[in-house]
Every structure is written in C-alpha cells, then in structure tokens.
C-alpha cells in the first residue's frame, strides 16, 4: 500500500489522492415498480439497479431444484458515453452481465429459494470509467432493499497503477494512462473476493497489493451503502414501532 507520504506527493487530474475514491452517492428505493432498487454514483459514473423476485421461474425446465436462478442484465443507456452507444446487447455487455452475476451470487442466499428466479437489471445512466463496479454496488443495495437474505453486501472498485503509483477508482483519462485496470468486488465482512478481472501488465506481487488496496477502498463504499439502506428503512421501521407502541 502506498504510504501516506507517497500518496500526498501525487495528486490526480481531479485533485484526488491516489487512494481516494470519487464522491459517492447511494440511494435505495429509487424505483417504484421493482421489489428493490438503488442508484449508485461514483463521480460522473451512475448505475441504477432494479431487483424483481424471488418469483417463480418460467419456463419450468430452467428451474434449479436446490436454489434460485440469479439472472442479471447489465446495459448502457445510449446517452451514457461520449460516443452514443447503440441500443441492444454487445459482446462487452454480455460478458459484464456474466461477471457481475458471479460477483453478486456469493452474497445471496440463493439456496433459500429453490426453483425461483431473482432478476437484477442494471442500467448505466452515466459512464465515466468503473461502470461494472458501479453496477455491482447498486445491485447489491437493490438486492438488500428487496429484502432478499444476504450474507453481506458486495462492494466493488477498480484500481490501477499510474507512473508506478497504485491508483484507486480510475476516472476519465486515467483509464488510458494506467498500466493495468483491475476491478475487484469483495464482501467486506470476510474480505472475500467475488469479482476479479485484470487488463494490463504487472507482477503477481502488484496484483496482490492492488487487491488489498481495493479492499481498503471498499470500506467507504460499504458505509455509504449501509447508510442508504438505513435512510430508506429506518423511518419506516420507526413508524411501525410507533404504531405498535
């Protein structure tokens, strides 16, 4: 991990220190037709997630006897990027749909809902690097918001290395400058890794250091996610409490 001194010396295009993540916004319950939902922004990257289910899965031959099928769809809105994105799935979005599902499933008690489906839709409203991690952060809050039993929330952030410095939460042109782009998702309680991808050229030691740094950076995201859920549910809980009392 970079020392405090080290990181002090280096500031980034947007004024952040290397270990800083961009300003975060998290809100739960933003969509009104879904069973659970959340909006997650990291700087100018914004993901919105909706969760439906658990509900019966049709057609029946897709049902899994001992657990729920977790289905995900990641997609970019056409206006989210500098160059308009053509509507419809791309190879990139299909791969992300898969890795995001595999990042979320370890945290969900899918075994509680045999034969059911839990559907998670993630739309990227604004894209400025880190869309898959934003999608995971939003989806994890949306799953909790839907009342689906979970082992933990999932927190995700991408880390890179610029001019020899580990750099957390790449944004804008940093993605072009980095020697590697390493998105990581973890379950903070245990520190277990649920998403790990990498593009670049670094040593195996660097990989381990970067994962540790990502784990650390996830701390703040985790707090914000929990706060969003408290903001959403505490007033209701209180109201119910009072009604009872």
């Amino acid at each position: 991990m970079p020392t405090k001194e080290g990181s002090m010396m280096m500031t980034r295009a947007d004024g952040r220190k290397n270990e800083d993540i961009r300003p975060i916004t998290v809100r739960a319950g933003v969509l009104h037709r879904a069973n659970g939902s959340a909006l997650f922004s990291l700087g100018r990257t914004t993901a919105i997630a909706a969760v439906y289910g658990p509900r019966p899965l049709h057609p029946k031959h897709l049902q899994i006897p001992n657990k729920a099928l977790l289905q995900t769809v990641y997609s970019m809105t056409p206006f989210s990027t500098t160059e308009r994105v053509r509507p419809g799935p791309s190879r990139r979005s299909q791969e992300i749909t898969k890795v995001v599902r595999e990042a979320l499933e370890p945290a969900v008690y899918v075994e509680e809902f045999p034969k059911a489906t839990i559907d998670v839709y993630m739309d990227i409203l604004q894209a400025d690097a880190g869309t898959r991690t934003a999608a995971i952060n939003a989806a994890s809050v949306a799953l909790a918001d839907a009342g689906i039993p979970m082992r933990d929330l999932v927190c995700a952030v991408a880390v890179g290395k610029i001019d020899g410095q580990y750099t957390v939460d790449l944004a804008g042109k940093e993605e072009e400058l980095t020697e590697c782009d390493l998105p990581v998702a973890i379950m903070p309680r245990t520190g277990k890794v649920t998403l790990l991808q990498m593009d670049g050229d670094i040593t195996t030691e660097d990989v381990v250091k970067i994962i540790k740094l990502a784990r650390q950076a996830c701390g703040k995201i985790y707090e914000m996610q929990k706060q969003a859920l408290r903001d959403r549910w505490l007033p209701e809980a209180k109201a119910m409490e009072e009604a009872k009392g």
Partner: protein, 254 residues
Amino acid sequence: MILQDNFIHNLAAKGLRMDKRKLDEFRPIVVETGVIAKAEGSARVKIGNTEVIVGVKLDVGTPFPDKPSEGVLITNAEFSPIASPLFEKGPPREEAIELARVVDRGIRESKAIETAKLCIAEKEKVWMVFVDIHILNHFGNLIDASAMAAIAALLTAKMPEYDGEKVNYEKHSGKLPVKCKPVAVTMAKIGERIVVDASLEEEQVMAARLTATTKDDGNVCALQKGGTSSLTLEDIESMLALSKEKGKEIRKLL
C-alpha cells in the same frame, strides 16, 4: 381486476378519480435538465410517480438523399425492465416503437429543430441528433412524459465542436437550434368521460386514447389515437380543446 375496472368507471362517471384529481388535472410535473453529464442535452421528467430520462447525443453523419442539406433526427425509446415488471429485455416492442415515433413526429412536424442549420457539407455531412428515451418508472402516461423530456433536453442541448474530421465533445459552439416547444397531451376515454394524464390503472381500463401534440401557436402538429375502442367526433373535439389548454400550461414548465 374487474372490481377495479368498475370502480374507476364509476368514479369517472361522477367526475372523480382514484387519486382525487379532477378529470382534466395532471399529476404534479417536475422537469429537471442537465442530468446526464456526457449527453449534449438531457432532462428528467416526473409526472407523479412516472419518471423518464431523455438524453440527446450529437454526431456527424450523412444526410438522407432526399434532404441533402438537413440534419437528421433519430428518436429511440427503450422500455428498460427497471421501469416495470412487465417490460422485458430484448428488442423494443410495439409500445416502445409507437412511443418513440409519436415523440419523434411531435418534434419533426413542429419543425422544432432547425435542421437546415445542421448541415455541414451538403450531401455529405450533417449533424445527427439522437434523442434517446429511457423510462425509469412506469405509472402511466409515458408519451407525455417522454415528449416533455425530449423537448426539454433538446432545448438545453449544446453543439460540440467539429473540425471537419472529428467531433470534439469537450468543446461547444453554441446551442442546438430549437425554435419552439411542441407539447404532447394524451387524453383517455373512460366510460363516457375524458381524462388527461391517465394513471397506469386508468390506462388499463380506458377504452381509447388520443395524443395531440400542439405547438406554441396552438396548432396541432401530431395526432395519435390508441386503444381498442373508438372515439366519437365530439370526444375528439373536446380532446383537441383540452390538449391546447393543457399544452399551454405545460409549455410554461419548459
């Protein structure tokens, strides 16, 4: 379902609605612009719980052969599954296509965008204006919300710079030339009564609907009847009058 059908019908017959609105009353409307950083123009519109985002993107492309010196407008709507449990991933369905085309016609026929100013080199290069509609919450009346968000987004859209070879989205040279504010008002016929801004529940029981898009001068620039029942001429006359009146009110919010 049938119980609710009857309930809405009975209410309407008495001039009442489930959410206590008057028949000719919209739910609260909120228009917010500049909500998407990378779009040249954007707006979020809420009508009650219905919520729509429109992003406007610009790019350089080739004009249509029959209009060699005019910019091109392309309107698209995605019914993302986040907005309703009934929307499914996949290619846009009939409803999404109709929505996009009705919004598109309102903009196109009102000549809101001065497409002649979007010509860069005749027959070769013109600006393409992409209007992308994204539904966030579907509680009825998507057409009016989308049309409002579309014109609001266009009104705030900035022109990126173009050096003859590529578009520089980080610099801007003025605003997209938009000269008027078409407003779509959709009216539903429930029993024998006409209501504006139908809620989702009302849409499910309505016999027919008419969307009338009016211009600043009160002229109509687009009409679209929908629904599985018919309208009398008297219905249509009332609806046209109503669309003009409501259009004027909504135009003030843009």
